[in-house]
Amino acid sequence: MSHSPVDRQDAVGGGKRTTDRGIETSHLPFNIRALVFVRERGIIVLWLLLLLFFAIWDHPYFASVANGLLILQAAALTAVYAAGVGIGAISGALDLSVPGVAALAGVVTGKLITLGQPVWLALLAGLLIGVVAGLVNGFITLRGLNPLVVTIGTLSVMSGLAAVVSGGYTIPGLDELTFMGTARYFGIPVHVYLVALLYVVGTVFLTKTRDGIRLVAVGGNPEAVRRLGINSPRYQLLGFVITGCCSALAGLMTAALVTEASPQASPASIFQALTAVALAGVSLGGGRGSLPKVLVGAIILATIGDGLTIAGVQPYWATVTTGVLMITALVIDRLLTQIISDRLVEVGSMSTHVKDGKG
């Protein structure tokens, strides 16, 4: 079996056909390569199909630069939440306290600005809320408690604190923040720049840097990584801190967009984010997932909302469609994984052991 000679060039995989996770597939049979391609890139194909579909249905209003920017603007906040939840999930830390952290960061920044503090200091304090929230979630979870339960608890604490800080009222008149809210630079909304920056930095971090690679590895198998002499808990903590920071950033961007900070935590944000993450095929069990696909997931949600609105369909249908789409995506992903696994066994010498809950 595995004695099949593999020549050196092949072993280093230089210039061979690879998928976006860098999987070497060149000497696998074509049908398996096709299946792997659909599983790895399916979401992008799906998005292109949606674009085509709405371009025809909503002709001539959908396919325009202005509407494209509208979609990106609409996707921005979900994309930031999804980046946080996505990186958290990849590192094995599913964090539900996201909306609470966002609300608290927003009102703290808003309060400081209304108290006359400099804007940069207020923003820094808001982001710091994210770091602290991540550390708290992380330290408690590392004690061996279930992250879901812990973060539901901190969700309550954070949104409660947000109400305490703001006295229960929305803090209005944050016009100082329009530079990162409604402002446009070179005709493009500022949120689009922020999202682009966040995803470029995040993707480079996860795929190119030592800490990022270890973060992903810890999500996949913390015990294995610990045995190699790497401080696993430190990376698990880092996952929570990144989620916290993204949540805080989303909170600040929301406040900047509407120029007021609401203490109300919006549960919709976490569910939108989770939908984008699940559409992107990120395993909630940790260890696998690609950040660019999470971005496509967030954009797909915005595309559906926008396309249906232009067509005059009641907006509730957007929610229904997204739900159906997500479940379909999960089912297809599971089926494909199973089929690829079976095919690999047939081909011999290889098998993919599909772990439960890792589909």
Partner: protein
């Protein structure tokens, strides 16, 4: 082989769990390049002894010498630092990551200045090093950027053992194997056996704990049998036969 300093030598090891004596005055040593089969029935103390060697357990009494130097292990990390690597039954690989990443995790090569400041990993060097290391061990598995989850059980075990091997190779080192073929089929077992022999040829000392008598007989130069925490046999394979070994394991044959 017995003239050189043992790579790992344990003298008069005792380990008590409350009133239970898990290990009772056990002497054990392994030479560089030697494969020692460590046998015994369930509860005989072989896993406990292995844990003492790997630093997971501290013995109540007794001394440990690595290459002639007396040492004390407080954690598996201490043992790893002096070139002793344990390969666990449950593999401990990161499934979704490729072979190269799994081999280099914890010692990833960085790119040159200025990229090293932010910790940019040199993926090409990682794959090249991995390919070189495996070919030095005579291992041929799959392309280095194939995720571990797409490998067969035997290939995975080979990757896990190779990782331990390359980590101890510079220092000569000791590899502790706990049932390395327990979950594998015939051909896959061959693959792992071959690797174990090659590692010994490279001068690595190997301690092989197993229930699989034929495997032990195929590979080991020397066989050590434990029974109820005591060493009852320590004999070159050529000087004994399987029946005697079974006798020692079950306690039917008297201790040497």
């Amino acid at each position: 082989m017995s003239q050189t300093t043992p790579a790992l030598k344990l003298s008069n090891i005792e380990l008590h769990y409350g009133y239970v004596r898990a290990l009772d005055g056990v002497d054990f040593h392994v030479q560089p390049g030697e494969i020692v089969g460590l046998l015994g029935d369930n509860g005989a103390g072989k896993s406990t002894l292995l844990k003492v060697m790997s630093g997971a357990h501290r013995p109540t009494h007794g001394t440990i010498e690595v290459n002639g130097q007396a040492t004390a292990f407080h954690t598996p990390k201490d043992a790893a630092a002096v070139g002793i690597q344990m390969v666990y039954q449950d593999l401990a690989l990161v499934e979704a990551q490729d072979i190269a990443t799994n081999l280099q995790l914890g010692r990833e090569p960085l790119r040159g200045f200025p990229f090293n400041i932010i910790g940019f990993v040199d993926h090409k060097a990682m794959q090249r090093t991995s390919a070189e290391q495996l070919s030095r061990l005579g291992v041929r598995t799959a392309p280095m950027n194939r995720p571990v989850e797409m490998l067969s059980g035997g290939q995975r075990q080979v990757v896990a053992i190779s990782r331990a091997a390359v980590r101890v190779m510079e220092s000569g080192g000791v590899i502790l194997l706990d049932e390395p073929t327990a979950a594998l089929g015939y051909e896959q077992t061959q693959l792992v056996e071959e690797l174990i022999v090659k590692m010994a040829q490279q001068g690595i000392a190997i301690v092989l704990v197993t229930h699989n008598l034929p495997l032990c007989y195929n590979l080991a130069h020397r066989i050590v049998v434990l029974n109820r925490g005591r060493k009852v046999a320590d004999i070159a394979k050529t000087e004994t036969d399987m029946d005697s070994v079974v006798g020692w394991i079950t306690g039917a044959k008297k201790a040497m």
